[in-house]
Structures are given as C-alpha cells and as structure tokens.
Symmetry: C2
Subunit: 166 residues, 2 copies
C-alpha cells in the first residue's frame, strides 16, 4: 500500500487548551466534554496520550479563539471529583494537516513532516494522526514557513487549503 | 453543517507505547520517529498533547504487537540529547474509530462517544480526533462492549469494519 499524499490543509485563529492532571478513570472525558458542549464551545482537535490508570493524564483540545472565556468558565465548573491540576492556554496556534490515503503504515510519511519542521527549527506543539491524515499544531507565526517546508518535503505543487472538509 | 456519522471502524492486535518526559524542542519528534522508521517498525496512531516549551512532553503511538521488541531496542538507541524519562507499554489495546463527515464542530459527536463508553464503565486510554474521524484506544477486552455501546449511541445498524481504509 503505497502512501499517497493528496495535499496540505491548515487552519488558523484557533486557540489550544491543555487540561493537565486529570484522573484517568471512566467518565472523566465525558464530564470534560459535557461541560464544554453545554457551554456551546466549538471544538476542533482533541488529543489525549495514554498512561497507566494509576497516573493522571492530560487532554489537549483546540477551539475557536472567541470561545476561550466560555470554555474557561465551563471547565471551572467541573465537579470536584474531576479535579484537574491546571489548565494551560496558547492563544495563537495553527493546525497543519497532511491529507492522504493508504498512510496506515505511515511512519515514513509522518517522519517526513517531522524532518521538515525540525529542519526549519519549528517546534511541534501537538500531534494527531490517523490512516488518512497527519495533523500537527505549531505556533501561528510558524505557519507560512511550515507550509513551505511541508510542500517541498512531499513534492506538492498546489496551494494548501483552509477548507476543513478537505 | 450537520455532522453525519458513516460508521465505526476498529483494529485489534495493536500494542501502545508512551514515551514520557521527552524534551519539548524542535527535532525531538524527528529523532524518535527516525529510529523507529529505520527499525522498520510499522506505526499506526501517533498522539502528543501540547504543553509549554519549558516542560517535558509525552508521545503515545500504536504499533503491531510483533514490532514491540524492535521498537524497544530502537528507542533505547536514541542519542543522549533526546533522553526521555521512561517508556510504558500496553500489549493489548484496541482502536475504535467513529468515521463521518462534517464533524468539524464535533464536540457533540465526540461527547456522544465519551458518554457511551462512560456508561459502560470503559476507560478511554487515548484520544485522537479530526474533522472526519474520532479514534479512541480502549483495553482489548472492552472492544466488543465498546462497539455495542457506540452502535447504539449513534443509531447505526451495520457492523463495524476492520478495514483500515474505511
Ligand atoms: C482521561 C479520560 O479519558 C478517562 N480515561 C476516561 O475514560 O474518561
Ligand atoms: C516533542 C516534540 O514534538 C518536539 N516538540 C518537536 O518539535 O519535535
């Protein structure tokens, strides 16, 4: 299955939030996204890494910048049993996605993106991949340079798109 | 944009690895996935949450169970400048993906999955979402129950597929 990269997509004007130190037991993700959904916060990306149940865990998500205050208020209302250690924000992130097919064994495809960004001294703030899409968050100021490096790395000629359905 | 859930996909016989306490600076993800790619380790999902540059960060990835030893040896060879705190494994995980379109403002769609798994007392080990796919890792023993709960939650009638290109 030769991976085929179709193109690059990006989105700006997102903020990212990380809720650190959440208990790692059933019902916690439900509680976090219930209060955010009830507050009508528009969420894009969600990532959580895996650790032993005995340890606390972090969840990162991105949202429209305008929803920041509402999200902050909603998370503060989480019941005590879902107490987290802290919340960290970054107001100015950009998401870049490599969109393709057949990327299932895609360590080579993902590696290419990580190589390109490292070449440019661009820090990868978060990663979320699937068989058909590799997404990273970078500082918004790095967006243009990151798109240029990724285009070269994958030998793409067209422009990146900010159409979320790409 | 009404979200439309097309179906459920799953994959078993994966192991998950978390490399904890990695430095959060450019070039680290490149180094980790270069040694894994050079060792011909077949990687599926990659997730990393976002934290301030001054802090260390965790990266979780899934791989074929057979590649575990090779991956372990490759990570041990990482140069000292990419020193991590520890590696944790889980031999028996299953991935469940909700596949759809128009899920960009999908906090409601993701919330439904989190609600369903919490109802069943199933722990969510990792999360990775995009506009068109919500994936979670659960303990392999929970796969059947998790698929049943997700089917009901989204009102789906067909079977889940283990075709990675779905
Ligand atoms: C942290 C959170 O994902 C938790 N493991 C849950 O199942 O809800
Ligand atoms: C942790 C890792 O992703 C690092 N931030 C990098 O850019 O490589």
């Amino acid at each position: 299955e030769q991976p085929l990269v179709r193109g690059l997509a990006y989105s700006v004007s997102e903020a990212r939030v990380t809720v650190s130190g959440l208990p790692n037991r059933p019902g916690v993700a439900r509680a976090v996204f219930a209060v955010l959904d009830d507050a009508d916060v528009n969420i894009d990306l969600i990532v959580q890494t895996a650790i032993e149940r005995s340890e606390v865990v972090d969840i990162t998500f991105t949202l429209s910048r305008g929803d920041r205050e509402r999200a902050h208020a909603a998370l503060r209302d989480l019941p005590a049993e879902f107490a987290y250690e802290r919340i960290s924000w970054d107001e100015r992130v950009a998401k870049i996605s490599v969109v393709g097919i057949g990327m299932r064994s895609h360590s080579g495809v993902a590696r290419k993106l990580f190589d390109a960004l490292a070449e440019g001294g661009i820090n990868i703030e978060a990663i979320s991949t699937s068989e058909i899409r590799i997404s990273v968050l970078v500082a918004e100021d790095n967006l243009e340079e990151a798109l240029r490096l990724a285009h070269t790395a994958y030998g793409l000629d067209g422009d990146a798109t900010n159409d979320p359905t790409f």
